[in-house]
Amino acid sequence: GSGSGDQGKSAGGDKKKLVIAGIYKAGDQVWFIDEGKAAEKAAKEMGASDFLFIDAKMNPDTYLQAIDNVIAQKVDGVVTCIPDQKLSKVTVEKLKQAGIPVVAADDALQDESGKKLAPWVGINAYKIGQVNGEWMANYAKTNGFDKDNQAGLLILTMDTVSSCVPRTQGEEEKFKELLPGFSGDRIFKADYNGETDKGFNGAAAIFTAHPEIKKWMVMTANEEGAVGAVRALEQAGLDKSSCVIGLGGYLAKDEFKKEYSAMKAATYFSSDAVGGTSVKVLMNYILKKEEMPMETAVDAAIVTKDNYKQIMGKNAE
Amino acid sequence: MKNVLEFKAITKYFPGVKALDDISFTAEGGEVLTFLGENGAGKSTLLKVLNGDYQPTSGQYLLNGEVRHFSNPKEAIEAGISVIYQERQILMEVSVAENIFVGRLPVGKLGLVDRKRLNQAAKKIIDEFGLPIAPDKKVKELSVAHQQMVEIMKAYSRELKVIAFDEPTASLCDSEIDILFKIIEKLKQEGKVIIYVSHRMKELRQIADKVAIFKDGRFVKLVRQQEVSEQEMIRLMVGRDLGDVFKELNRNTELGEVLLEVRNLCSDRVRQISFQLHKGEILGFSGLVGAGRTEVMRAIIGADRIKAGEVLLEGKPAFSQSPGEAIQKGIVMVPEDRKTQGILPNMTVGANISISILGNILNSFHLIQEEKEALIIEENIRLLNIKTPHAGKNIVELSGGNQQKAILARWLITEPKVLILDEPTKGIDVGAKAEFYKLICDIARQGVGVLLISSELPEIIGLSDRIIIMKNGRMTGEVSREEAAEDKLLAYAMLDEGEKQYA
């Protein structure tokens, strides 16, 4: 049974090798690389002998194989960011059956109704979006973009990556909520695949398609896209009058280092925090049988040219 | 100046085969040396060794007294050696001119190819050959015969000391052969070493000064063509007397009822073709290359679309959508161009033979009965005595003539009603030909109807009960075997529309 399995492990935790696995949907992205590193550090500090970093390559099949694999390896605990939340049930079932505790990182393990199926550590993708939307709405107000019909909003969506869809939804809905007056025909969208130059192409096409718009506000689904938008604004010669908000901060920090960049802000949510915390929660359960809190929110802060060094600390380098 | 090429103890092994066994002889410039030998005797291999395509297992050759070794054809070409292969090695997608001058395209300033000069140079050679070919035309648009001629021009256009022709006339007709022989004569005057491989004794008589006879990879003898009788040469190569092949044929005397009837057949390339083929009859088709004989046959077996007309087999409509259908009905064809239409490349000899009868050797689970298949294959390799170490050898590794035999075997084993043969003895040695002629007559006697296309007049005259002559996609005449004579056939072949007359 599952319980006894855990008993055995926690009992002889110091003698037996204790192994934690981190399965991340896009193990080749900065975000997850850092998250993984932090997780590994935390795990080893708390006495784990090994931390397996597994890349699901944004591929549900690969992800499932990874789950089966760690079960076969009888790891003692799993932290994971799933490529798609519809995989939550399978994940939880399989691991429960194997008696392996799991913590969700970044994207929650939840059912259709949104009910959490496992403890979760991170920032809800929709909330990230809302934070962006709110900042951009305020930016619009302070710069009078809301009434200026030369000002437009561009949202670069990533609709082929289901876990990133809530982000742009959050951005759009929050923005509209705060600026009901902002006319819909000044809100534009283009889709890209998460790569910078595809973001660039998407943005560039929209900019030229709507020369009447001289001041752009751009929100995207990931930071790579935000950088693409910045470059596109520069090519269109609109960067000085426009504003892009990043998402993650891991590229924005370098834009901030330039003496000017249309990237005026970014939501910073530290992957270290997510990585470290997710593992702590897990280890405390495995070792000390401490109850795992169902939600541990890691807060997302807005960083700008002026404050990013303080807030991001070493992550600003 | 006069060139000399000397082979010294050349030996070449292939897995399971000793293709060349200690070959030594000398070829003098200014005379034509022909190779004579059975299929698989090693003629082509020796030429491939000569031009650096294959490396000899041992031995060497001297050009004008100095030992040469070529690790690839490029070096051989640079040394003035050109070999025209038995299997066409032409570049379909580029122009005639570029084929002729490939690797040596004339360049102008800035190193850009000078097309004008290229085409002029090509035109010059084409005119020298006296052929109606446009230099800037893509080779794939030429008839097989003209493709062959372009290959010859390619070799001819080079700085030459030695030139070797490996069965060049297999896909040529008389007019082109005449051209070729004129060219060879010219090369002879210039003192080049000329090697000429052919299975056609007639040609040998025409141009050979000396004949090098091979047997089973061994060099048998070098003789002066004038001094040795044909029979003698054949005995040396085959090991026995053949006598007058055609006289000794035990041919079919009484023909059966009408087997195949073709009425006003029209396809893209042929017009108004009508004829009857009787059970047990061998009906020959004569004409110049390009007359459309192949196209008639292709239409009959459904390889080309029929535009009009009908095909009747044993009185019943036998129109075929595809060769597959024709085969079902018992109409099979040995195609003209072995390389592109005959062999199934990267398949084994065995699979190449059995492909036509797999349907007949399935067990109750519809699985191929491999033992049976193997038996049939072995039997036919023996019957046509195809020279191969084993049936598992890739067919492209067989000698040209042996490949042809394998294709023949493929169709003979289907026990067809109508057997169509398009240049069937292309590349087959005299001994094998004699055997093959016997075989055809036996088949005919069993009531099979045979449609025979051949550009070798003696063959078509010697075998056919009746001969239809074609030109420009139409029938221009028909003669019975009694009155069949070369001049007559040629006359009809030249005939023009309207002057059509039947003997």
């Binding site: 990874a66 082929t160 | 597959g324 064809m333 084994t348 699979a351 797999l358």
Partner: protein, 340 residues
């Protein structure tokens, strides 16, 4: 007496090298991680292999016939979504199975049509359908993965018979069935023939267009079946799933000795290829090889395995030559000189 392996080229179908490679892999990995050889893990490998394995069968047939299909990954994803949607719409399992596999066959038919009728290179034709059906996979679910609730469907992905999960059983049966068809039937033989020269094949009485048709439809069906299995295992239809599947499948086939030049290949070889590939991937994860190095390792595997294979072939030919030289010196008739 002439042996069967004389009819199909033995040299080409010799698989010893691969088997050695596979064994070597297993030994190495299990040396570093004792769990590698655990039945649980072996079953994982087979389950993981089920989708690429099924597709690899189709690719093997196609490549032997001188074709290939790049749309298989998209078709699998499309199938998984279609299946989920149909179930949601209240269709029950088996009818759904038929419809989805039918859809796969239809895609195959479209590919074949493009190749036969508008004479596209299969690479290009299927590059187009790859994009088209990825699109449809997203469209029919508006980009949102679809849950699968039906228990029959879900069990289909994990129930075990004789200790083997259904996907694995399907895979093994497919290997067996299509292995026999390819090696022992008339149709199988004609696949090899078409791989050589379509023109000659046609004159030899075969119907290359028909064969092309059947092969693409077969591959479409297998991809769809694989997609259904995937859906069952994920208990959801995923439009973004199995990107690049086609390359895993093709890689497996090529690892197994199927040659892009056409006319050469066996299902047995492909089985080995699939096992090596999947076993390798799993091993890399278990050895906790850094993600980035896994890219390198996978590429290297392909290189090394094929180089190894190449050298062995060369070697064998050399030996064969020497043998026959020795034997021929003793003036034996050539037929006996090639070892059975």
């Amino acid at each position: 007496m002439l042996k069967w392996d004389h009819i199909t080229q033995k040299i080409e179908t010799d698989k010893l090298g691969l088997i050695v490679a596979l064994v070597a892999l297993v030994i190495i990995f299990s040396f570093f991680n004792s769990n590698y050889l655990s039945s649980a893990n072996l079953i994982n490998i087979l389950v993981a292999a089920s989708l690429p394995g099924l597709v690899a069968i189709g690719e093997t047939y196609l490549i032997i016939a001188g074709l290939c299909d790049l749309s298989t990954g998209s078709v699998a994803a499309f199938a998984s979504v279609l299946a989920a949607v149909l179930m949601q719409k209240g269709l029950s399992f088996f009818p759904m199975l038929l419809v989805v596999i039918g859809a796969g066959i239809l895609v195959g038919y479209i590919n074949a049509w493009a190749v036969n009728k508008i004479k596209l290179e299969s690479f290009i034709a299927t590059l187009a359908t790859m994009s088209i059906f990825r699109g449809f996979a997203y469209i029919i679910c508006d980009g949102k993965p679809v849950y699968i609730m039906d228990s029959t469907f879900i069990d289909f992905g994990k129930e075990r018979i004789l200790g083997l999960p259904i996907p694995v059983i399907i895979l093994l049966l497919a290997f067996l069935l299509f292995g026999i068809i390819l090696a022992k039937t008339r149709f199988g033989r004609s696949v090899y023939v078409v791989g050589g020269s379509k023109n000659a094949a046609r004159l030899a009485g075969l119907d290359p267009e028909r064969i092309t048709n059947v092969l693409f439809m077969l591959t479409g069906a297998l991809s769809a079946l694989g997609g259904i299995i995937l859906g069952a295992r994920m208990s959801s239809g995923q439009p973004a799933a199995s990107v690049g599947l086609e390359f895993d499948a093709i890689t497996a086939a090529v690892l197994g000795g199927t040659a892009f030049t056409g006319g050469v290949g066996t299902i047995f070889g492909t089985v080995l290829g699939v096992l090596i590939l999947q076993g390798f991937n799993t091993g890399l994860i278990m050895l906790n090889v850094p993600v980035f190095w896994q890219f390198v390792a996978r590429g290297m595997l392909l290189f090394i395995a094929l180089a190894f294979d190449f050298l062995r072939k060369k070697n064998r030919e050399k030996k064969l030559l020497e043998q026959s030289m020795a034997l021929l010196e003793q003036k034996e008739p050539p037929v006996k000189t090639t070892p059975a």
